[in-house]
Amino acid sequence: MIVRINPFAALEDIGRRRFILGSGALLSASAVALLAGRPALAAEYGKKKGADTQSDIRILNTALGAELEAIAAYGVGAGSGLLQKPALDLALQFQGQHKEHADVLAKTVRKLGGTPVEAKSRYEFPTEQLKTQADVLGFAAGLEKGAVSAYLGAVPLFRERELARAAASILGDEAMHWAVLRQALGENPVPAAFVS
């Protein structure tokens, strides 16, 4: 049985913890700016309350923007008429999971006091290059691979370590999407021991 989890559950009290941890981390940001020989910048950092939280919000919002685009991309794929079952079911399931990622990211941004980015009214996709089911699956696989890289690049940046864990939880899901799409395309589903 698969039990549904909330990867962000440990963050329920994040606002409070951030309040306690905030000032020390702020100091280090000022120190970095000072080291870089920019005393004016250091002063600006010192004044800006919760620079660490602002940084985490920026990372979450960028990830949210990419998730919202992925939801739209699967919508285009599923609506293209090019996908047959079972590929169509996969696309819809993966789209649903991207929606879950987006929901939890938006909720977390709000919890941190930020404003979640919203879906664009219009996205550009290379639709003229999508003519077969394999084209659509290949396009989706590329986006999922990219998403794995993007989360991998976000994990070490979070100032709040619980956010890193939550992002890694999403990374794992997107890596599974990527592998299953490769399998559906007849490619080696797991081409390497590491993702990059």
């Binding site: 920026r58 550009e124 690049g153």
Partner: protein, 132 residues
């Protein structure tokens, strides 16, 4: 004076031609194409997505693609993209340009950066996507 206004010392050094250290490797565009896979969750050559489009990147002022909502940090940046500034930025975007919304740790390996930059130089000028 313009240099003195550059966003960080690292970029300042690159912009003013002080030993920027990206020329150690010639850079293999074929390998760089594969490394660009790490960017395609957010970027495309020809159109804006979560990140700005990359066509015409070299020689363009940072934060200057019209219609893209940059962070204040990038929008205020006073440097131009070239092999050196890209090398600095891609090594660690958030350290090079504090406040950037490119929430990506960067590419630590200088050879990988050189390969990626070699590919970007070609693709952002010569690829069919960028010629349209």
């Amino acid at each position: 004076m313009r240099c003195a206004l550059a966003v960080t010392l690292a970029l300042l050094a690159a912009q003013c031609g002080i030993a920027a250290g990206s020329t150690a490797f010639p850079g293999d565009p074929a390998r760089g194409a594969a490394i660009y896979d790490r960017c395609i969750a957010c970027h495309a050559l020809a159109y804006n997505r979560t990140g700005p489009k990359h066509c015409g990147l070299f020689g363009r002022r940072a934060g200057s693609v019209s219609g893209f909502a940059y962070s204040p940090a990038m929008a205020r940046a006073k440097f131009t993209w070239n092999a050196e500034t890209l090398d600095r930025f891609l090594e660690n975007p958030g350290r090079t340009l504090p406040g950037t919304t490119m929430g990506y740790a960067g590419i630590a390996d200088p050879r990988e950066r050189a390969d990626l930059i070699a590919w970007l130089r070609q693709a952002t000028t010569e690829s069919p996507d960028c010629r349209r």
